[in-house]
């Protein structure tokens, strides 16, 4: 007990140092800060505007009105931003594998996966978080949800779960590089697929696809199921407070699976060689 507490304290200490380092490295290139400050909000403001245009052209999407879609979009962007802060490295895992960058992590007395994500913690993800929170607040107002203490707790639990699901998916995809020995920029593709499946209600898709998104690749749990339960929309699978907890459970399961797959891949890792 004493010992595991010590370990935890050690990890927290290292994390704090890493965050400090991350802040220092981002000020290295000032033009980069400006770039991220423009690029990320731009992406989500345009994305949000597009939803408005689509609703104006086509009317309600599968019974979801504009306010409810804004609520869904906001929460989806927030969990995306959190996954960008903590897990974006997963997108680049392939390059670490082919360039032998895991060597450094393997020689240190800390978890490899922990080091991989936290030595490169992406503080810039905050630029995604801000537009997400703004759209979410807007969605709360226009969809007319009742905000109570329980509601806030459910939102927070759901966000943790959603972030873990996203992170798990990034790690799972990234870890394939150990077996294929190649680096593919799946980030953009993953992003594109996630956009269409987390920012719109998946009930608009055919049942076969809904089945895949619910049970096989649990993207449905990133936003659709928890959000529809928060808004009181019947999604046919799960409603009420339990949904947020199921989301968290799915997230933990995904992370566990991803961690196991990563570690099995790491055994095959044999550096780049000179």
């Amino acid at each position: 007990m004493e010992r595991s507490l010590d370990t935890l304290r050690h990890y927290l200490d290292v994390t704090a140092q890493n965050i400090k380092m991350a802040f220092m490295t981002i000020v290295e290139y000032p033009s980069n800060i400006a770039g991220w400050l423009i690029s990320n909000p731009l992406q989500f403001i345009m994305g949000f505007a597009i939803i408005k245009f689509v609703v104006e052209s086509f009317g309600e999407i599968n019974g979801w009105n504009y306010g409810q879609l804004a609520f869904l979009y906001g929460l989806s962007v927030i969990s995306h931003a959190l996954s960008m802060i903590f897990f974006v490295q997963g997108w680049f895992m392939g390059w670490y594998v082919i360039e032998g960058d895991f060597d450094r992590y393997l020689t240190r007395p800390l978890g490899v996966l922990y080091q991989f994500f936290f030595t490169n913690i992406n503080i810039f993800g905050i630029t995604d978080l801000i537009p997400g929170i703004i759209v979410f607040i807007y969605g709360c107002i226009t969809s007319g949800v009742q905000i109570s203490f329980m509601f806030v707790i459910r939102v927070l639990i759901m966000l943790i779960g959603a972030t873990l699901i996203r992170g798990g998916i990034y790690i799972l995809i990234g870890s394939t590089s150990f077996h294929t020995r190649s680096a593919v920029d799946f980030g953009q593709y993953t992003q594109e697929i996630m956009d269409k499946t987390t920012m719109y209600p998946i009930s608009m898709y055919p049942e076969s696809m809904q089945f895949v998104l619910t049970y096989l690749i649990p993207i449905g749990w990133v936003s659709f199921y928890p959000v529809s339960s928060l808004l009181g929309i019947d999604n046919g699978i799960s409603g009420g407070t339990a949904t947020a907890l199921i989301t968290l459970a799915v997230g933990l399961l995904m992370m566990w699976l991803a961690g196991a797959y990563f570690n099995s891949g790491l055994k095959k890792y044999e550096s780049a060689g000179n």
Binding site: S31, N32, S39, G47, F58, S182, F186, Y189, M204, Y205
Partner: protein
């Protein structure tokens, strides 16, 4: 052998041939390079197929119970999705990353010493990888799209020449925008964020995902004045037959104008930045 012959005759056409050969060689190497990573090919096809099918379902769901929205029906929209996915393969550029990388690592100095134009080299590399991608990605995507979604038949085959010309121009516009963004690396050094800005601008304002005609008129009018719409939406409109031939020609004039403006800008900026290269840790 051939080189000696040229030296002897010393004709201008011969030197031209050698110059072309250098670029052809780069194109060839790049094609071979693209063929080495087999998994990348399958991975890309798989991901692009998922995206294409999701988009098709997306539009089918929106069009449920509606015949034609803004002058386009479901079938045309599905063809739009397939051709947009296929076109996106042609519009992959690596020039911005190449410049960014070579400035950041300082290899730009050695790149510039090579007896070949820096941007000519990048252009040849991009042509090479796209040539490989046409067979590795584009054709499979069109075949998968035809089998799983719909056979993408062109609305009016007589517009085919217009379509081909507009695609070539859109490729050039896209490449020039990428090169111009890439050139900011010479002053800004790290341009990862700027590459993202460019990516989002093209993704969302070119009609590659959502056609501009679904936007409110005031917004759409602004976008028609910018070059992005002429990268995706113009060739796609011609393909699905949204509009008349007179409209296509009018838009292609603006497209050509943008091509001229961007080329001019490219050469001006090119001259400026290459004169003052900053090498990190050189």
């Amino acid at each position: 052998m051939k080189y000696r012959q040229v030296r002897r005759t010393g004709s201008a056409a011969g030197f031209e041939e050698i110059r072309m050969k250098k670029y052809l060689f780069i194109i060839k190497t790049q094609i071979i390079k693209s063929l080495t990573y087999e998994f990348n090919v399958y991975g890309n096809i798989l991901m692009q197929t998922i995206i294409m099918i999701t988009s098709a379902y997306f539009w089918r769901a929106l069009y449920k119970g509606q015949g034609s929205v803004n002058g386009v029906d479901t079938d045309s929209m599905l063809i739009y999705v397939i051709i947009s996915s296929a076109l996106s393969v042609l519009l992959i550029t690596n020039v911005e990353r190449r410049i960014g990388g070579s400035v950041e690592k300082g290899t730009v100095a050695t790149d510039m010493i090579k007896p070949i134009s820096l941007f000519g080299m990048f252009f040849a590399e991009d042509i090479g990888s796209i040539t490989a991608l046409i067979f590795q990605n584009m054709l499979p995507i069109i075949i998968i799209g035809s089998l799983m979604i719909k056979v993408p038949v062109m609305a009016d085959i007589r517009d085919l020449p217009l379509f081909v010309i507009s695609v070539i121009e859109s490729f050039l516009i896209n490449w020039l925008i990428a090169a111009l963004f890439g050139m900011t690396a010479f002053t800004a050094v790290n341009i990862n964020a700027l590459i993202q800005v460019k990516k989002h601008l093209i993704r969302l304002l070119s009609g590659s995902i959502i056609p501009i005609w679904f936007f409110p008129e005031s917004v759409a009018n602004v976008l028609y004045a910018l070059p992005f719409v002429y990268i995706y939406q113009l060739p796609l409109s011609i393909y699905i037959g949204r509009g008349t031939r007179a409209e296509y020609l009018a838009q292609m004039r603006i497209q050509f104008l943008w091509l001229v403006i961007l080329s001019a800008l490219f050469f001006v900026v090119h001259d400026r930045v290459t004169r003052k290269v900053m090498v990190q840790g050189g």
